[in-house]
């Protein structure tokens, strides 16, 4: 432990719990302001700005190579609720807090335009989900991570079940069974066993050495690894991905939040955090865990893309695209070379901004034109040029074309797969790129060049309200920005890979 502390400077920082508390307090205030919608939304928005500011305030210290920690509760020896801000947590915290700002506006526009009921509950749970996500980002040990991971599961249930009809109850049931079930069945024993083996649940402070000593039985570590990989079912690895398309019954802002920020990213963030900071690159190499994992998630990448091709419902297609893209992140980390890890981690950011744009577009199309199926969207791009333009740019990012953000991750992933001498992975990445193009380009093509369906009224459709349009344009602008200037986010990735 002492050697590690000399390698990285650790400093206690009292702003850390404040960052985690902002969304929680925001949520409570939102609940109190249920009779005043404007003030309620203003609270959400100010909380999101405040959160973003606090998260940004950590950057200077981190640049100096300091890791910030804050112990909150000490439970047992080696078991505590402790917060930590390092490069790795910043990747996710910045994404979550910045997207929250955008999402608050968008969901206000969507919910009001659609006259959704129970908007207070919606906003409160939205903030609680961010609370969980920020907590996951700033976790210093596996217990804290698990705590916030579970908070996200519970607090997003009301969001998925929002419409309170048979379909949404069914989707929400599936959602909670998959997420809570895997966490109990796989993560809880993993936690207990790691605690027994190492006497603590703390993350290590660098990615090379994990927490296991050399004499820990190999089969047990492998078993723990499998438990963790599948236990964080929010990461959408097949075959435990069914909750994700099922959760599509939720209102579109929720889908956007689930798919781009809070839920799935919590899943992949937790998975990669555990891979790198509990098992560590050395242990994973020793036990030969990396490459098999990469091929395993490679199957998810290809299969999910193929399923996405077959979906006509835009949200369903996006859902399977998410399943596929999440595995890029895990694949990158599993390849265990510095470039591949960097590619995987930066994809957390790139996918987030692109995917939230795509979902925002889907919501905007639904609000403006009341259309959910791609086959009915012919010619819609001509009446909604901004929405479809943003969709096209975000789709390019998903495909991995320059100069949009997705190119950066794909570049690093390709380099990483070559470094690892894995032709198979390289082929998977190329095949996936083709498939991505296969299911995104037709949407854009149909929008701009397709014929409107017979009998459709040309005149009635306009762009969605500004409160929806502006956030989605902002999100896509960020996608382009970090595509052209990736260094801002890459500096945090480099803190991880060293």
């Amino acid at each position: 432990m002492n050697e590690l502390q000399t390698a990285t400077t650790i400093m206690e920082h009292s702003f850390l719990p404040i960052a985690v508390l902002i969304p929680l307090v925001g949520s409570l205030v939102v609940m109190l302001l249920k009779n005043n919608p404007n003030l309620r939304e203003f609270t959400s928005f100010s909380a999101s700005i405040l959160l973003f500011a606090v998260v940004c305030s950590f950057i200077p210290a981190l640049k100096k190579g300091v890791t910030l920690v804050y112990p909150v509760f000490h439970l047992l020896p080696g078991l505590s609720i402790t917060l930590r801000a390092d490069g790795f947590s910043m990747i996710f915290a910045l994404v979550a807090s910045s997207l929250w700002m955008i999402a608050v506006f968008y969901s206000m526009g969507y919910m009001r335009a659609h006259n959704e009921p129970k908007q207070t509950r919606f906003n409160a749970c939205f903030a609680l989900a961010i609370f969980g996500a920020i907590g996951v980002a700033f976790s210093d040990n596996l217990f804290t991570l698990y705590l916030f991971y579970e908070i996200v599961s519970i607090c997003t249930y009301p969001l998925v079940a929002h419409h309170q009809d048979g379909e949404s109850y069914e989707g929400a049931r599936k959602y909670i069974i998959y997420l809570a079930g895997t966490a109990k069945l796989l993560l809880l024993p993993a936690l207990a066993l790691i605690y027994v083996l190492t006497g603590s649940l703390d993350f290590s402070h660098n990615i090379s050495q994990g927490v296991f000593s050399a004499n820990a039985p190999g089969w047990m570590v492998v078993m723990l690894y499998i438990f963790c990989l599948l236990g964080f079912a929010k990461n959408g690895i097949m075959p435990l991905h069914h909750w994700l398309p099922g959760a599509m019954v939720a209102p579109t802002p929720v889908s956007a939040l689930l798919h781009a920020v809070a839920v799935v990213k919590v899943g992949v963030f937790s998975t990669t955090r555990v891979m790198l900071y509990i098992f560590g690159v050395d242990t994973m190499q020793q036990l030969n865990l990396g490459i098999p994992t990469a091929y395993f998630v490679g199957c998810t990448i290809i299969l999910a893309s193929v399923i996405a091709l077959s979906k006509d419902n835009l949200k369903a297609r996006l859902a399977y695209s998410t399943v596929s893209q999440l595995s890029y992140i895990i694949m990158g980390v599993a390849l265990l070379t510095p470039h591949a890890i960097a590619g995987g981690l930066i994809h957390i950011v790139n996918h987030a901004f692109a995917k939230i744009t795509l979902f925002f577009c889907a919501g905007a199309i639904f609000i403006a034109a009341h259309k959910k199926d791609i086959s009915e969207m012919g010619g819609l791009g001509r009446t909604m040029p901004f929405t479809f333009g943003a969709f096209a740019v975000a789709a390019l990012s998903m495909i991995g074309a320059p100069p949009v953000a997705g190119f950066v991750s794909k570049w690093y992933l390709l380099v990483g797969s070559m470094e690892a001498h894995q032709i198979g992975i390289l082929l998977i990445l190329i095949a996936s790129t083709v498939l991505n193009a296969g299911y995104f380009v037709p949407v854009v093509y149909r929008g701009f060049f397709g014929k409107p369906p017979v009998g459709a009224l040309e005149g009635g459709i306009r762009e969605a309200p500004l409160s929806m349009l502006v956030p989605l344009l902002l999100a896509v602008a960020v996608s382009v920005l970090i595509g052209i200037y990736p260094n801002f986010m890459m500096q945090f990735v480099n803190m991880v890979t060293g």
């Binding site: 509760f73 000490h74 439970l75 047992l76 078991l79 609720i81 217990f143 698990y146 705590l147 579970e150 519970i154 079940a161 309170q164 009809d165 048979g166 109850y169 049931r173 909670i176 069974i177 809570a180 079930g181 109990k184 069945l185 809880l188 024993p189 936690l191 207990a192 066993l193 605690y195 027994v196 047990m220």
Partner: protein
């Protein structure tokens, strides 16, 4: 035998036992239905306050029995009135005195016939329950143990639900049947040792057959009380038919007496037999965890659901006890407290629903959330606690038990994990149905939210849910020295002996 006792000034423990009993007598003689509630509340509150000096004055670095007092009672038979608390019992005493005022408050409007008699029963129960935990003389223990049955029987038989006579008789017969052999074992131990002083019976050389028989006699009594699978069949009937306060007392305190018995008597008095039979007991615990979970998942009756969940939760306690390591024992002790707090709270919640719609049927209680936000909040937190959500009390207990089980035998821990999953399944099902329901919920708009009294009943328990969940160290500090000593002696014993085997039987 004196080195085990620390005599201190004021006899707080006697007060804890005596005050409720005196209160019961006063109520019996002078009680009127109009004032008996208030009087009982005051007595139980005073008793709860009187626990504080005990908790404060307890020297947790000392493994001896503290606040001890000894009075000669029947000298011809060497029976004394001996009481004292150690790290195992002190928290259970505190739990008892904490739960009692809440039970009184919860019965405030629920009980509307024979109020005085009801309150007398509660007070007698309190006295007997505390007596069981603090008795250091085996006869005294047995008297308290049996004495408890009568008020509990009355609570179920008089103020219970529709099948009260069936449930109360079943409860009575089961528990009595278990304790008959307990008495035989006590007498056998007396004949062997010439004393009823419990610490003097521990860590003695007994013959192997003798130990085994004693253990089995103990086991039957305690396993029925816990209840361990397959001795649990009295429990759902009694829980379901009892009035709210009765269910709470059963779940929170009475079940703990079984596991308390294992810790206090089985391990130190019959260590060889305990170690010999640990493996089957562990698998019996696993069976209880899984069986309780599966059965709870299938229930439509909310009280039955919680009752079966108790079988599962108590399975974790026995699992922790018989792995014989510190994590396991700590987890078991904490799980005893947690179960007392959480399951007690859940029964209180169900009672509050029952008071409003006069039904325990889950289908009639769906979709309460929008109309009873306070209730929904409390119920959510208690449900989360019941399936060991991280940050709540049960997580620590379950986690420690699992850690202990992993250290003992990984297969065992892995076998218990589906039980944790089942707990999440049935609690989330209950929670989802009560708060949200489905598309055709009954009309709940007439129901009123919790009043101040009901909030006061639930709030202290919620406080403990998070206190133990986020800062369990003070609680562990109470029990650690005693548990450490127990383990150390157990290990010394194990090394000193050849170990017991069944060879001589075959």
């Amino acid at each position: 035998m004196n080195q085990l006792l620390i005599n201190s000034g004021f006899p707080w423990l006697n007060l804890l036992v005596g005050l409720p009993l005196a209160g019961a007598l006063i109520l019996l003689v002078f009680g009127k239905d109009t004032i008996s509630r208030q009087l009982t509340l005051i007595i139980t509150l005073v008793n709860a306050l009187c626990t504080l000096p005990v908790l404060h004055g307890f020297d947790s670095s000392n493994t001896a029995f503290q606040f001890a007092h000894i009075y000669t009672w029947i000298p011809q038979l060497h029976i004394n009135y001996t009481v004292g608390v150690d790290g195992i019992s002190i928290l259970l005493v505190a739990l008892t005195t904490l739960v009692m005022p809440l039970c009184v408050l919860a019965s405030w409007t629920y009980i509307n016939k024979r109020i005085t008699a009801f309150m007398v029963c509660l007070l007698v129960m309190e006295s007997a329950m505390i007596g069981v935990f603090i008795a250091l003389d085996f006869v005294l223990f047995y008297i308290f143990w049996e004495f408890m049955l009568i008020p509990m029987y009355l609570l179920i038989a008089i103020w219970g639900g529709p099948r009260k006579s069936y449930a109360s008789i079943k409860f009575f017969l089961y528990t009595l049947a278990g304790s008959v052999l307990l008495l035989v074992a006590i007498i056998a131990l007396y004949l062997h040792n010439g004393t009823f002083f419990i610490p003097a019976m521990m860590w003695r050389e007994y013959g192997q057959l003798f130990q085994l028989l004693i253990f089995l006699a103990f086991f039957l009594a305690f396993a029925i009380k816990v209840p361990m699978f397959p001795f649990h069949t009295w429990l759902p009937a009694a829980h379901v038919e009892a009035p709210t306060a009765g269910s709470v007392l059963l779940a929170s305190i009475l079940l703990k007496m079984g596991t308390y018995g294992f810790l206090r008597f089985c391990l130190p008095i019959t260590p060889d037999a305990s170690m010999l039979l640990a493996t089957p007991l562990l698998w019996l615990s696993i069976a209880g965890i899984i069986y309780g979970g599966c059965t709870a998942l299938a229930q439509q009756d909310m009280k039955k659901l919680i009752a079966y969940s108790s079988v599962g939760h108590m399975g974790f306690v026995t699992l922790g006890i018989f792995v014989f390591n510190l994590h396991g024992l700590q987890g078991a002790m904490l799980q005893m407290l947690n179960h007392g707090i959480t399951t007690g709270a859940l029964f209180l919640c169900i009672g509050m629903i029952y008071e409003r719609n006069h039904s325990r049927d889950l289908a009639k209680a769906t979709g309460l959330g929008p109309y009873m936000p306070w209730f929904a909040t409390f119920f959510t937190f208690f449900s989360l606690s019941a399936f060991a959500f991280p940050g709540t009390n049960s997580f620590i207990g379950e986690f420690l038990v699992l850690a202990g089980a992993f250290a003992h035998k990984p297969a065992l821990a892995l076998a218990a994990v589906p039980g944790a999953l089942l707990a999440a399944a049935y609690m989330l099902r209950l929670l989802q149905k009560v708060i949200w329901g489905g598309v055709n919920n009954p009309d709940q708009s007439k129901l009123s939210d919790l009043g101040l009294r009901e909030i006061l009943v639930l709030a202290p328990l919620l406080l403990f849910v998070f206190w133990i969940g986020l800062g369990p160290q003070p609680f562990l500090d109470y029990m650690n020295p005693t548990l450490n000593e127990l383990l150390q002696k157990l290990h010394e014993w194990q090394q000193g002996q050849q170990g017991m085997s069944l060879n001589w039987i075959f």
